[in-house]
Symmetry: C2
Subunit: 359 residues, 2 copies
């Protein structure tokens, strides 16, 4: 946390700042509302890399003409349990929100549904979409490919996949939903940035160089951005993280007809759009269990995990989604921390966009 060097702002202020910039970029009002809600949810959940901090990348994409702010979003295929949405070359949040809502509606009727998105771009934090399903009493799954490869397959020496996250959420009864939201790389790029602040060498196995050798200097690592798949090294089963990254790519890209980034870069480096793909699924537990049974059993599993013997008596055993729930409670009460460096960057973006600076 760079909180000591930053300032906390109420969620409403962050929301207004994001909205002001998106609107100044020419995004339609209803798209601004959806995109802002999803970006703010990341900031509230403590996923600092995927809210306000995404604006610099979005500005870069906009300046390079890689995204439009006025996409035509269309459902191009549909069945009672599937749909394919064309994102129209805009940011990913709006078509992804439509995709997850479509999957939820269909799953409530049929028990199960899957929706793909193509011709999209960065969609924010994967967990937000999976959580949408859990908040409606369904199991939710969301995956996304990315515009630029950063993860090096086992035995390779160049990146072929993105951090290709998997998000999976499930509704509990007494507890908030289970929400797993994980990059299939060992660590996310945000952790490299934090390591540069700390000035300490990286653990072996986070980042590799062009020969596939470990990189431990955090500044060098952040420049190279060649991450390892989850597992880190072949000895620690990095082929599993690589396999999971490939699974995400197949669901997000191959199934939707979006672009596989290394091939797009090689064949059409000046392509008008990045054509990123996403995948969403919803499953209704009531297709398998009587009403309430699933949620009660998940509560009992969470109880058992909390009660598991601890390796360190002062470190509780956590369940996926709990750190984010705590962040929401804390940040809704005392505000969202914005490091000074990010605040200065946002000021520049607001100025260039002709938007008010509210932070």
């Amino acid at each position: 946390m760079a909180e000591a060097e930053g300032t906390r702002f109420p969620a409403g202020t962050i929301e207004a700042q994001i909205s002001a910039i998106l609107a100044a970029w020419g995004m339609a009002e209803e798209h601004v509302a959806i995109t802002t809600r999803i970006m703010l949810a990341a900031d509230l959940r403590g996923i600092d890399s995927h809210g306000l901090a995404m604006l610099p990348l979005y500005e870069e994409h906009l300046r390079n003409g890689k995204i439009t702010m006025r996409p035509q979003i269309r459902v191009v295929r549909e069945s009672p349990v599937t749909a394919l949405i064309d994102g129209g070359g805009g940011l990913g949040h709006v078509p992804s929100d439509l995709a997850m809502r479509t999957a939820i509606d269909k799953a409530k009727r049929a028990g199960l549904a899957a929706v793909g998105v193509r011709n999209s771009a960065h969609y924010g934090a994967a967990g937000i979409y999976a959580l949408m399903a859990a908040q409606e009493g369904l199991i939710g799954l969301s995956t996304t490919a990315v515009w630029k490869p950063s993860v090096v397959p086992t035995f390779a020496a160049e990146p072929m996949f993105g951090t290709n996250p998997i998000a999976f959420a499930a509704p509990a009864g007494r507890y908030p939903p289970f929400v797993l939201d994980m990059a299939t790389s060992t660590v996310a790029i945000g952790k490299l940035k934090i390591a540069t602040f700390a000035g300490k060498p990286l653990p072996l196995g986070w980042v590799v160089d062009a020969e596939g050798k470990p990189v431990t200097d955090p500044h060098e690592a952040l420049r190279i951005r060649s991450m390892t798949p989850l597992g880190g090294t072949p000895e620690m089963s990095s082929h599993k993280g690589y396999g999971l990254g490939a699974m995400v790519e197949i669901l997000s890209t191959t199934l939707t007809g979006a672009a596989f980034a290394p091939l797009r870069q090689a064949r059409d480096p000046d392509a008008a759009r990045h054509d990123v793909g996403q995948f969403f699924m919803a499953i209704d537990p009531k297709a398998f269990r009587d009403e309430g049974e699933f949620e009660a059993d998940l509560d009992e599993m969470i109880d058992a995990l909390h009660a598991a013997r601890r390796a360190d008596p002062y470190q509780p055993v956590l369940v996926a989604g709990e750190p984010e729930e705590r962040a929401v409670a804390e940040r809704a009460a005392v505000g969202i921390p914005v490091p000074d460096t990010l605040r200065a960057i946002v000021a520049g973006i607001a100025r260039r966009a002709g938007a008010a600076m509210l932070l």
Copy 2:
């Protein structure tokens, strides 16, 4: 490979040996055929731990009365895109084969289907089921919980999940299917056995003791069987492997109404059955893409992965499923290696069952 100390047998001989023992145990003829096919497929694919080598565990379960050889397998819930199957307390292969075939049939009609199994037991190698879907032109997913916890959550000091595998398969065009089949632990138990043969210390992060400390003696590790989740250590993101294990448990156990092993052990240690759960899903790419597009794009992705720059010029970049495809080709030609130790164990099982010893 303990091949130097073993003998190769033709697949037909292994098949006959497995069948003879299952039949001698009293399994119905049609169940013997299905179970043997799935166990043999593991041996052919080089997944040595999940074929013939499973017989000792199955014998133990049978002797302890934890499985029946004459299960009543029933579809207890069904919709056009979902089903729930009760395995009747027998081995998992037969209800799981029915579940995956049901998912495939429904997905061919509707585009997508999910089927759960409860009141089941060990089902062999997860990848065999996912591959069934890919061989029918569909994306396949399979997960299973287990009868006995062996994987310790991040920050815990006792096992709460099994090795809870995820298998995911997808059909290619020129290539054999992509088949990811991975335990969500750092390594499978089979790797510990191999390490005891080699007599070398284990890498830090494969196994932990009752205080959550790393265990490097392979014999001690095999006795304890407290594995780490994929990632291995908190620093290397073991919370992701833990989260994936929980996801598998939610799909396999919570969704199907099967037993969560730590709670079953605590509440009903003498339960008649282990009540293991499994989950299967199939997705038809033709619900999203035109005929052949998915397979052609997956071929191109595999081409690109093969062509990726190598860390070691003599170590090709592999794609999930390729080592298993090579094993099938080799073992179909020259036979399946059976270590002498396993052969002696199988001889004892055959003798006790009153089955012929064919190896």
